[in-house]
């Protein structure tokens, strides 16, 4: 294969060399269980606390507000299921979220709904952005929790988190944000943005899979989701994934250090790609282009179906996605695209291309060369495309 372009960095990223180097000693040399008393365990214990400190600094938290977990899904489950229970004894049984959250949030909320909670799903409108005045209107006396994602995993739109945080604080409602796509890609300040809980996942920013963290603001007494040993100050049981914790901190440090420069480069690359692919007739860009992750492009091409587009791209050496990796295997079109008001038949033909530091201008050139050819080929065999053309003539 001449070209291989990995353009699915919102699904997962490669572990960087720097991160792997930071991790290696904790897999081979300093393997001691951090809870043990012998001296190699002191090294691992200290490594965890250093990592916690690094990660806390990246989001302007203090280190004891960071709890390591297995990943974004666990962080979301913990924050939502246990967060909603905090004020249950005061009769607060209402949750506010959006319809285009990640399934880790949607399904956690759904499980609470089955337990008697009421749920309000805020509209995310055509541009994929929550309107803060609609949030304020939705808050009730009995609202226990607001959970709104920082940046959407499919269309990359960045929510007005600071304003959302301010409203929640004003109304004394607990505010959780699933920031899995945002951490390492946008500047986050949990104090300034009044965030009470924030989920992150290492493998989205070049750390390994299977490690994440939940930031819980000091003073919030969240019940445990995982019971057992006394790890994470009695809040999350299970022997710490030391090497991955170290890797996550190294990766986030690196991501935060060169964020501005990287975003500038990725935005220019992404915009060039968007402009080029927009020349394809009957195509559209999904989601706001200003308030958006630098490395995200999401488009629909009418008359073709997303999976056949992805398979064709894969045959040409381009890894991409349609909707999110978590929902492939489902026949329904992306819930995110339906939430921004796209009709089913258009939502079926979506393509998500997501970039990281590892991508180059040559990658963009290659995608610009290949996608129009594939769209043309698939349309030439699509009876739906024939209908679209007929209707427009």
């Amino acid at each position: 294969m001449n070209h291989y372009v990995y353009a699915d960095n919102a699904a997962t990223t490669a572990v960087s060399k720097k991160v792997l180097d930071a991790m290696m000693p904790y897999l081979t040399e300093f393997y001691g269980n951090p809870s043990s008393l012998y001296s190699i365990s002191n090294v691992t214990k200290k490594a965890i606390e250093d990592a916690r400190n690094t990660i806390a600094k990246c989001i302007n938290a203090i280190s004891k507000e960071i709890y390591f977990v297995s990943g974004g899904s666990e962080a979301d489950n913990w924050a939502i299921k246990c967060g909603a229970m905090i004020s249950e004894n005061k009769g607060k049984k209402h949750i506010i979220t959006t319809a285009f959250e990640h399934h880790a949030v949607l399904h956690s909320v759904e499980s609470l709904r089955k337990q008697g909670f009421e749920v309000t799903y805020l509209d995310v409108h055509e541009n994929g952005l929550v309107r803060v005045e609609e949030l304020e209107k939705a808050i009730r006396e009995d609202t226990a929790l607001v959970s709104i994602m920082y940046a959407n995993n499919e269309i990359g739109t960045i929510q007005p988190i600071e304003k959302i945080g301010a409203i929640c604080r004003k109304h004394k409602v607990l505010f959780h944000t699933d920031a899995v796509q945002a951490v390492g890609n946008v500047p986050i300040d949990v104090v300034k943005q009044n965030i009470d809980m924030l989920s992150m996942s290492g493998h989205k920013f070049h750390a390994p899979k299977g490690i994440g963290a939940l930031y819980i603001r000091k003073g919030i007494n969240l019940k445990n989701l995982i019971d057992g040993g006394a790890q994470e100050r009695n809040k999350r049981a299970g022997t710490e994934n030391v090497a991955s914790i170290v890797g996550m901190a190294a990766a986030l440090q690196e991501a935060c250090n060169n964020m501005e420069e990287r975003n500038k480069r990725l935005t220019a690359m992404r915009n060039r790609l968007a402009e080029g692919l927009s020349k394809i007739e009957h195509s559209r860009i999904n989601g706001d282009m200003t308030n958006r992750l630098a490395g995200n492009l999401n488009m629909c091409f009418e008359g073709i179906e997303g999976e056949s587009l992805l398979l064709s791209l894969d045959l040409k050496g381009i890894a991409s996605s349609s909707g999110s990796a978590c929902t492939s295997g489902s026949l329904d079109p992306s819930h995110v695209l339906l939430a921004i008001g796209l009709p089913h038949e258009i939502a079926h033909g979506s393509l998500r291309l997501t970039f990281s530091d590892d991508n180059t201008e040559e990658d963009i050139d290659y995608i610009l060369e290949v996608v129009p050819q594939i769209v043309t080929r698939l349309r030439s065999m699509s009876p739906l495309w024939d209908k679209i053309i007929k209707e427009n003539n």
Binding site: E305, E307, G329, H344, H348, M381
Partner: protein, 150 residues
Amino acid sequence: MAYSEKVMEHFANPRNVGELEDANGIGEVGNSKCGDIMKMYIKIENGIIEKVSFKTFGCGAAIATSSMATELIKGKSISEALKLTNKAVMEALDGLPPVKVHCSVLAEQAIKAAISDYYTRQGIDPKAIVGEINECCHDHNADGSCSVCG
């Protein structure tokens, strides 16, 4: 979910793609809301399917099953073509992931729809010969509506 090599081969190089100008039977099943539409074109002479082609909007499995189904009925008699089951299409492709089985059902139905159209054009009521055609292939709700398409 992973496709067999055969599915990928038929997806990458589909046989019998396009419209058939001299078709005397055209059938279309599925709908855009569900995410797949199959259109089959057949040219029948003396009870034999002399030519067959298709156009499909859909996933990889939809394209591969269309391609394989056309291959399996080419040169066959109408009665043989009507006996083609979705299972036979799947087997010829070395299987399909469970979530994609409906594509093979759609391919079977598309052939039946094309043959139906052929009979209708001949002034023959196709129902007794071809039977009912399901234009949609997903699970159905209690009220009979499609669980995906509504």
